[in-house]
């Protein structure tokens, strides 16, 4: 008989854990929904503002964003490098002009 009671207790504990699990699941689901909503918004912004292509799928958006970021970064780097060189060229040219003037 005592063995039965023990099992009943175990079952009750099991039930309690089941309840908690249910609650957690619901919270997770709510959170996930929130994330999903936020994700949707971000994707829409990305499509509209950054990619200018509303027909892309979500996965394509991520890929396109990666590509865009890479492109901009590369372009910035190239431009900076280019203008760095241009500034030096201008500097050298001015120096040359001034040198000629002093003659």
């Amino acid at each position: 008989m005592s063995q039965d009671n023990s099992q009943i207790s175990r079952l009750e504990a099991l039930n309690s854990r089941l309840e908690k699990a249910k609650e957690q699941k619901m919270r997770i689901e709510a959170l996930l929904e929130q994330v999903e909503r936020r994700n949707r918004e971000q994707i829409d912004i990305a499509k509209r503002d950054y990619l200018n292509n509303p027909d892309l799928s979500d996965e394509e958006v991520l890929q396109a964003l990666r590509a865009e970021l890479s492109r901009i970064s590369k372009e910035n780097e190239e431009k900076l490098s280019q203008y760095e060189s241009e500034i030096s060229n201008i500097e050298a040219r001015i120096s040359e002009i001034n040198k000629n003037l002093n003659i």
């Binding site: 063995q3 039965d4 099992q7 009943i8 079952l11 009750e12 099991l14 039930n15 089941l18 309840e19 699990a21 249910k22 699941k25 997770i28 689901e29 996930l32 994330v35 999903e36 936020r38 994700n39 971000q42 994707i43 912004i45 990305a46 950054y50 958006v61 991520l62 964003l65 990666r66 865009e68 970021l69 901009i72 970064s73 590369k74 910035n76 780097e77 431009k79 900076l80 203008y83 760095e84 241009e86 500034i87 030096s88 060229n89 201008i90 500097e91 040219r93 001015i94 002009i97 001034n98 000629n100 003037l101």
Partner: protein, 608 residues
């Protein structure tokens, strides 16, 4: 990730410096362009001026000659007219000025032209009459060329004149005084009636004091030659030219003199030794600060001389017999206030400036002394000094300065032409070398645009990067959604205590079955009980003992096995019926694993 911001400050500084340098270069270019324009303009002007060089020089020379001729012409005409008026027998002669230049300075010799190209020195072999006339005339001419006060003091200017000429001389002097606008005070031992003047008599009153009084006024209607002046204006014009009033006290024989002077001609008359010369001496003492104790009247401590000039201002000189500061000059305003005072040895500036009767290079034009009637024509004055006193070289000098300035300008213009072309070429080279600055400025502005947009672009990049990070993270999170959907939390388990009791019973039952089956299996092993070996003669005692023990044990085990077997079969029959009914009761499904309960009979063995 590309992060150029660190380089950006350095670049910006460099870029900023480029901007400054470009602006500097542009300003320099602008200056050079302006300079180029100025040089071109200067060259053009210089060229134009140089083209006119010969004409201008010629015109300046002509102007120089004409100016000299004009000045000399005026003076010689005046002096010649005086000579002709006073000495009509000399009508054929003319006063001639011989103006020349020695060592860059004008020189003047005054001659009498006695015939065609025949000149005589004005002083040599000529009578005193001519000397009197020309000297007096020259005084008026010379004074008219200065800025001194229009005041002349003539002490016996007619001393050498023959009596017949005196009336004509007196008339000429009176006329000149009016026409030239010079107040004149004269003393003459000839008949003063000849002079048309205010006649002031020095006289001794009943107490023996020497005083002064006007005994005759100027006869205005006696001036006939009025072509050049209008009477009404002449009087008003001359009001301020000279000295209005002279007061002398205790100076030599003059006890108390107070004379209001005419702005034109004044004659001082009086009996011999009354003090006419003392009157002149008093004026000279005042003008030259030439004072001594001997000038103070006997029995008096000091003498005083006052001269009233324009605006009621009085200039005063006191000379005391005793004291540290014997001489005192004062300037007294109409209200009696003394505004300046001086006790120095020289004539103070405030007196010299107000009175304006100054010597020029040591020669007093205005105070003609009786003992020195020759003026300007004596050997004591050099030709250059004569020209200087008459300012004859003045206009000539101005024009010469103009010529010098022009020559300098011509020289400068030639230099402008020479150097300007050279500078122009240099400037043009510089301007050309500065031309690329405009292109550089365009490039600079492009860089400027980039720098200005850089942070905007960087911000855009950061936003994309952030969005991408978030999306990637979300994507990972959202993968869990699938798992979450698949996750099924079992529903609550209902608890029936009876079922647990039954289960326990069954478990017990099962356990009993398992145990029995185990026993049965063990019984089955009876078959495997080894049969001890047969005892033979050769078997040793010990082995025989061991074998006997084994046989005995085997007999026991067999007996026990038989008993257990009987019990088990009986129990098994009971369990089998129980099992059958329970399985039926639970519907043939295991309550733990939910599988179909199967049972099989295999040689009396029952497995669960």
């Amino acid at each position: 990730m590309f992060n150029p911001e660190n380089n950006m400050e350095l670049l910006k500084n460099k870029h900023f410096q480029n901007g400054k340098d470009i602006q500097k270069a542009k300003a320099q270019r602008e200056f050079l362009v302006e300079r180029e324009s100025t040089i071109i303009s200067n060259i053009l002007k210089a060229k134009q001026r140089l083209e006119m060089k010969d004409i201008i020089k010629e015109q300046l020379d002509i102007l120089q000659n004409k100016t000299q001729e004009k000045s000399i012409g005026l003076f010689t005409k005046l002096l010649t007219n005086m000579v002709h008026d006073v000495m009509p027998k000399n009508k054929e002669q003319e006063v001639h000025f011989n103006l020349s230049t020695k060592r860059g300075k004008p020189n003047l010799d005054i001659m009498m032209k006695v015939g065609n190209n025949e000149y005589e020195d004005v002083n040599s072999g000529r009578g005193g009459s001519l000397t009197n006339v020309i000297s007096t005339g020259l005084r008026y001419v010379t004074l008219s060329r200065t800025k001194n006060r229009r005041f002349m003091l003539l002490d016996e200017p007619d001393c050498w004149l023959e009596d017949a000429a005196v009336p004509r001389f007196a008339r000429v002097v009176s006329d000149i005084s009016r026409k030239v606008g010079i107040q004149t005070i004269a003393i003459s031992h000839k008949n003063p009636e000849f002079y048309n003047s205010r006649m002031i008599e020095l006289y001794r009153d009943n107490s023996g004091t020497v005083k002064a009084r006007v005994i005759q006024e100027t006869k205005e209607d006696e001036y006939i030659d009025t072509d050049e002046y209008e009477e009404i204006n002449r009087t008003s014009l001359m009001e301020d030219v000279g000295i209005k009033r002279i007061k002398i006290q205790n100076y030599m024989s003059l006890n108390d003199i107070d004379i209001e002077l005419s702005p034109t001609m004044n004659m001082i008359v009086g009996e011999n030794d009354i003090g006419k010369s003392a009157f002149f001496s008093a004026i000279r003492s005042f003008v030259e600060n030439d004072c001594n104790e001997g000038m103070i009247q006997h029995g008096k401590d000091m003498f005083t001389i006052e001269m009233e000039i324009e605006d009621g201002i009085v200039l005063k000189l006191d000379h005391k017999r005793k004291g540290q500061k014997k001489t005192t000059y004062q300037m007294i305003m109409p209200d009696g206030e003394t505004i300046s005072e001086d006790n120095g040895r020289d004539v103070p500036d405030f007196i010299a400036d107000a009175l304006a009767i100054r010597s020029i290079d040591g020669i007093n034009i205005q105070l003609a002394h009786q003992k020195a009637p020759v003026f300007m024509i004596g050997p004591d004055i050099t030709s250059s000094k004569r020209a200087e006193l008459l300012s004859l070289g003045r206009e000539s000098d101005y024009i010469q300065r103009m010529i010098n300035i022009y020559n300098k300008e011509v020289k400068e213009d030639s230099l402008v032409l020479k150097n300007g072309q050279k500078e122009l070429e240099e400037i043009r080279v510089k301007i050309e070398s500065l031309e690329p600055i405009f292109n550089l400025e365009k490039r600079y502005l492009e860089v400027d645009k980039f720098i200005n947009s850089f942070f905007e672009r960087k911000h855009f990049q950061d936003r994309i990067s952030k969005t991408l990070d978030e999306l990637e993270k979300n994507s990972e999170i959202l993968k869990n959604k699938k798992a979450s959907n698949e996750l099924r939390v079992p529903s609550k388990i209902d608890i029936d205590p009876n079922s647990f009791y039954r289960v326990n019973e069954i478990i017990k039952l099962g356990t009993g079955i398992r145990d029995n089956l185990s026993s049965i299996n063990k019984i089955k092993t009876i078959r495997d009980i080894p049969i001890p070996q047969k005892i033979t003669i050769n078997t040793s005692i010990d082995e025989r003992k061991k074998l006997i023990e084994e046989i005995e044990e085997t007999q026991t085990r067999v007996k026990n096995g038989k008993d257990k077997y009987k019990d088990s079969v009986k129990l098994l029959e009971n369990i089998s019926s129980e099992q059958e009914s329970f399985i039926k009761e639970i519907g043939g499904v295991c309550p733990l694993c939910q599988n179909q309960i199967k049972h099989e009979h295999n040689n009396g063995e029952n497995n669960e």
